[in-house]
Symmetry: C3
Subunit: 328 residues, 3 copies
C-alpha cells in the first residue's frame, strides 16, 4: 500500500512551473458552456432513496444509499453525466460545488432543475484545468475538495434534503496531485452530528502506519464547527499539502467549518507519532461533549492493530457511550 | 466592456517579481505617521443621514445616503481626506479597516474621534505599497477588500450605527491589480439580511457574459454566515485570483464570514457556465430560508437577458416572496 | 529594543529556497515515533493549581499559575519533556496542538494520559523541520502558532478544564523566522471573555514605537469570534508576515476564530500610524459590548507614554467600565 507518487524530480519540475506559465493553453475569456457532455468521461447514476423514517441518502445503485452519499472523484478536464433517479415521494435534486454546469444542472427550483418524485434527470458537471486568459489573468481551474447536495427538498434551498442526508463529497484533482492509498475518509459536520451520527456510532477510520490517507471535511446545516485531528497536522492550501518547504501557508490541525464549507488534506498515517487511536472531533466543547467525536486508528505497517490501540478504541467507545448523547 | 487589463507579458513580469525584491524601496521600520494629507490624492465628503425610522446611511452628497454606503476605492500610495458631515441627531463616526490613520482618525470614543450631532470632522486615510524593511522583513502593504463603519453610535463600539446601516466597502488596489468592468457588487451579510434586506428585495446584480466583475463581501452584526455563489468559484487569496496556475491557494465557492470579516474576488461572468440567473446566498440553511439570498444575472455578451433567464428571475422572486421572511 | 533580525541578504537567500528543495534532508515516510526525549532540548514543569473558587491555571513553578498559562516556545527540531504536576483535586492533562507526540502524551482519557489528583506525569512533545519525503511530497514541518490545554477535566474532552482556565500558547518557530522584541501577547477569546476577563480588566499590551511585537490569538469554549486590531494589519500566513511583496496571501485586520483555532502575527508597533491607544476586540458586536475589548498601547520609541495616549487609556477604562459587563 505504498504511495504511488511522483518522485523528487517530478516535484522539482512542478516547482519550476512558474516559469512555464506561458506554455499553459490560453482560452477565450468565456468558453461556450457545455450544455451536455458530448464526450463524457463517465456516466453514473445516483439513486435518492429513503433510509428509515426521516432519512434519505444517495447511492450509486438501487438499495445502496448511504449518508454521506458516494464520493465522486474527477480530474480537471473530466465531464461527468449524473443521472439522478428519485425513488422518494418528494422532489430532490443535485447541486454541486466547484464544478461547471449550465442552469439546467444547477439543481434549484428557479432554474427548473429539481427532480419530481419517482422521476429522473441528468445533471452534467464539467471541469477544467487552469489556463491563462487572453487578458493575462489566470483562470484558476476546478480542483478542490468540493461536495454535492440537494437544493429542492423541503425548502427552495434544500434544507429538508440536507437535514435528511442528501449530501456527499466531490473531489476534483489536478493532474499530478498526490493520490491517497485508501478511499477518502469523508466527515460531514452537521448540527451536532458527524455524518448524522453521534459517538460512539461515528466513523472509526482505519489505516496502516505510513499510508497516505485523505480526509474530506464538509459542513452543513445551521451551526459552525471546528474540525480537529489529534497527532496530525496539515497545510491550509488547496490540497492540504505544500509543494515546497518555504510555502507561507499556515500549518493547522483545527479549522473553522461553516455550512457548505469544505476542505480536505492528505497526511501520512502516524507520521512522527506512530500507531494509536487518534481522535478527530469538533472542538466546540459543547459539540464534542454531545457526541461529535470519532477515531482515526493507525495500525502497524502490516495492518495489525496493537493491543494497546485496541484497548484505547474500547475505552473510547465506553467513554463516548456513557454520556447523555446516546444515539436514538 | 472588455477587460482593460495587462497582457500576458505583464503577467509574466509580475511572476518574475520574486527576483526583484531587492529593488523594492526600503523604508524605516516605523514611518512618521501622517496626521494629515499634505498632498491628498482626493478629498471627499460623506453625509450620515437618517433613512426612514430606524435606518441611517452614508452618502457622497446630501440626500443620497444608501445602505451600504458608497464604495470607496484607493490604490496603494493614495491618501484620502474624508469629511464626515453628521446630519443625524446622534453621534456617529468613521472607522476604517486596512488603511493607515492616526488616533485622531480612529473613529472611536476613547480616541475622541466621534462626530457630535450636526457637526463634521475630517478623517484621513493613507495607504502604502509593500516595502522591504531595513531589517529584511516585508511590510505587506495596504491592498485588500476592506470596509468602513461607524464606531460611536449606540454603544462605544458602534453597534447602534452598524445596526442602522452605517457601513460601506473600501477597496485598496495594488498597482497592476486587475480592475473590474463594472462597479463592484457589495454584499453585506448582517444578522439574517443582505444589505439589511431580505429576498426578494435583495440585490440582483447584472453583468454581460465575459465581463470581469468584482464582489466585495462584508460581515457585520452578531451572526456568522457563509457566502456561496452558484456557477462560479474563486481563489482564497488577497485578490480572489491567482497569478500562476501552481499557486497553492484553495479554490472556493463558499466562505465563512464573521462580523467585520471581508473579502473580495473577481470572476468572469458566466465563464464555463454561460448565461443564467445564478443565486448567491448565505449557506446557513436557516438563514437562506429566512431570505438571505440574491441573484447574479449573466446576460448575453451584448447585454440582452435571455427569455429563460428572465423566467428564472421571475420564478426566484415568486419563490423567495412566498416564504415567511417577507420584508416589513 | 531594535529587531535582531536577518538582513536583506538573508531574505533573498530565503526567497531562493525553492531551488534548494533537493538539498532538504529526506526522511522515511513514517519515522519511528519518539516515545521519549532521549536528548530533550529542554525539560520543564507545569503545575496545575487552583486560582480562587472556580479557576485553575498552569504555572512554571508552584504558586505561579496564570490564565492563560505560560507561553512555551520551541524551534523545529526541539523536543521538550513537560512534567505536569497536578496540585488540584480532579484529574487534568496536557493536550498540545501542532507538535508530535505518542498516544501516551495525547492527554486524553481513552489514551490513559490524564493525571490523577495530586500526581504527576511527563508529556513529551517533539517537533520537526520540513522535509521532502521519499515519494517526493513535502512533510510541512511543525512550525505554527499552536496552543496546549486540558483534555480530561470535567468531561472526557476537557470542557471543565478549559472553562476553568487550563490553556496556554505554544509557539513553534522555523529556523530563520523573525523573532519579536518582547514576549508574545497572548489573547484567548473564550465565550464572552478575553483570557477569562472582561474590559476594563482585559490585558493592556504595551510596546514602543518601532518594536516588533507578536500576537498569539487562540479560541476556546463554545462561541465563535472575530479578532480585530485597530491601526495595524497582517497577512493570513503561517507567520502573519510575507516573505515577498508578490505573495498572494490575504492581508487582514479581522479574523474569524473558532474554538481551538489559533493564529499569530508580528507587526511593527505603530508602523504608519504612530503612538496611541489602539483597541483590539472581538468584532461580534454583542461580544464587544459585553466586554471583549482590550488595548494595544504604542509609546514613544524611548518608551514614554504621551499625555494624549494616557488620556485615551483613561477614557477607554471609563468607557468600558461603565457598561453592564462589569467583572464579578
Amino acid at each position: 500500500m505504498r504511495s504511488k507518487l511522483r518522485g523528487p524530480s517530478a516535484l522539482l519540475a512542478a516547482l519550476a512551473l512558474g516559469g512555464l506559465v506561458g506554455s499553459v493553453p490560453t482560452s477565450t475569456a468565456a468558453d461556450i458552456p457545455r450544455q451536455s457532455c458530448s464526450d463524457p468521461t463517465r456516466q453514473i447514476s445516483l439513486f435518492a432513496e429513503k433510509l428509515g423514517r426521516d432519512r434519505i441518502g444517495y447511492g450509486l445503485t438501487p438499495k445502496s444509499a448511504s449518508i454521506p452519499g458516494p464520493t465522486i472523484q474527477m480530474t480537471e478536464g473530466d465531464c461527468v453525466a449524473v443521472n439522478l433517479v428519485n425513488d422518494t415521494n418528494g422532489r430532490v435534486s443535485l447541486h454541486a460545488h466547484g464544478v461547471d454546469y449550465s442552469p439546467a444542472s444547477d439543481g434549484t427550483p428557479h432554474n427548473l432543475s429539481c427532480v419530481p418524485a419517482h422521476r429522473s434527470r441528468t445533471y452534467v458537471w464539467s471541469t477544467h484545468a487552469p489556463t491563462v486568459r487572453q487578458d493575462g489573468t489566470v483562470d484558476p481551474g476546478s480542483a478542490g475538495y468540493w461536495h454535492y447536495h440537494d437544493h429542492c427538498h423541503g425548502t427552495p434551498h434544500g434544507t429538508g434534503g440536507i437535514d435528511a442526508g442528501l449530501f456527499g463529497a466531490l473531489i476534483v484533482r489536478r493532474a499530478g496531485d498526490p493520490v491517497p492509498d485508501r478511499p477518502p475518509f469523508v466527515v460531514v459536520f452537521k448540527d451536532q452530528t458527524i455524518n448524522l451520527k453521534k459517538a460512539p456510532f461515528t466513523p472509526i477510520f482505519k489505516a496502516n502506519l505510513g499510508e497516505r490517507v485523505e480526509f474530506v471535511v464538509i459542513g452543513h446545516g445551521n451551526l459552525f464547527h471546528t474540525f480537529h485531528l489529534h497527532g496530525h497536522r496539515w497545510a491550509d492550501t488547496r490540497t492540504g499539502t505544500i509543494s515546497s518547504p518555504d510555502d507561507t501557508a499556515p500549518l493547522i490541525d483545527n479549522k473553522t467549518l461553516g455550512p457548505a464549507d469544505s476542505f480536505g488534506f492528505q497526511i501520512i498515517a502516524g507520521e512522527h507519532v506512530g500507531q494509536g487511536a487518534w481522535m478527530y472531533h469538533c472542538h466546540v466543547q459543547g459539540h464534542s461533549d454531545a457526541g461529535m467525536t470519532g477515531l482515526f486508528v493507525v495500525r502497524s505497517a502490516e495492518g495489525k492493530m496493537s493491543p494497546s490501540t485496541k484497548a484505547a478504541v474500547r475505552r473510547w467507545k465506553a467513554m463516548e457511550g456513557g454520556g447523555s448523547h446516546h444515539h436514538g
